[in-house]
């Protein structure tokens, strides 16, 4: 027998207290997606310093004259806040990847009954991978 289910306007974020695991997964996927596309534009902008470098432009980095690309990238990497943001970016990317795998499985109809558990698994794995990556991401930078 077919049943109809009135889900209400789930796009109403004011109802966040009623949200279930699947709804949170949907919101986190959107949020991380916005972050990632925003970052992609920033990333290409920063990498565009390669055009200046190829043109022979140089800059000072820690008292040394270096090409514009090396100076821009290493200059950014020397900032503590940039490293923190990179860890944040990793967390965002890892969650988006893991939840994306979960969504592909949901679309294929695989493990539908465990979709809430796989969301929690995505969160936990994201936390573990992010924490485990902190030493590598923060290597050689001081406050």
């Amino acid at each position: 027998m077919s049943q109809s289910y009135n889900r209400g306007l789930i796009e109403d974020f004011g109802r966040w207290k009623e949200f279930s695991a699947g709804m949170w997964a949907w919101i986190f996927h959107k949020f991380t997606g916005w972050m990632l596309i925003g970052y992609l534009f920033t990333h290409i902008a920063v990498l565009s310093s390669a055009i200046a470098a190829a043109d022979g432009q140089t800059m000072m980095l820690a008292g040394e004259q270096v090409d514009a690309y090396t100076g821009t990238l290493q200059g950014l990497e020397s900032l503590f806040i940039v490293r923190v943001l990179e860890v944040g970016l990793l967390a965002v990317a890892v969650f988006h990847i893991l939840n994306g795998v979960r969504l592909l499985m949901v679309d294929l109809g695989v493990g539908l009954t465990a979709q809430d558990k796989s969301f929690y698994a995505s969160l936990v794995l994201t936390g573990v991978i992010t924490v485990a990556s902190v030493p590598t991401f923060m290597a050689g930078v001081g406050l």
Binding site: S2, W34, I44, Y69, L90
Partner: protein, 121 residues
């Protein structure tokens, strides 16, 4: 079961491409992060090192495809999120046009940068 729980729209090209690019991006994004943070540390990246990586035609093509797939997946995702929030009518068309132009510019700029890194321009 009368209800359809999949977001699949039969014949939806954008839906299909979103999934294809997703599968591609999962692998390449993981590779990219691993290569440029764990194999080569981001803080030690130099123009010479980037040029050397880009000399490998397979790496170069992967990075260009990565950019195109990422730009499409991201912009299509943003568009779908906005449509999901109730965007319709003329604003929907304007947003689509702006996003298509933004993605186009991003790809052109990115390919230009990649060609410069490879020493082809």
């Amino acid at each position: 079961m009368a209800e359809r729980y999949s977001s699949f729209t039969p014949g939806g090209t954008a839906w299909f491409l979103q999934r294809v690019t997703a599968a591609f991006l999962i692998v390449v994004l993981a590779f990219h992060f691993f290569l440029l943070h764990f194999v080569n540390h981001a803080s030690e990246i130099t123009f010479a090192g980037t040029q050397a990586r880009m000399e490998d035609v397979g790496y170069f093509l992967t990075m260009v495809l990565f950019l195109i797939a990422g730009a499409f997946h991201g912009v299509n995702g943003v568009y779908n999120a906005l449509v999901n929030q109730g965007l319709s009518g003329t604003p929907k068309k304007v947003v689509l046009a702006v996003l298509v132009i933004a993605a186009g510019l991003l790809i052109v700029q990115g390919v230009w940068v990649a060609l410069v890194m490879r020493g082809m321009i």
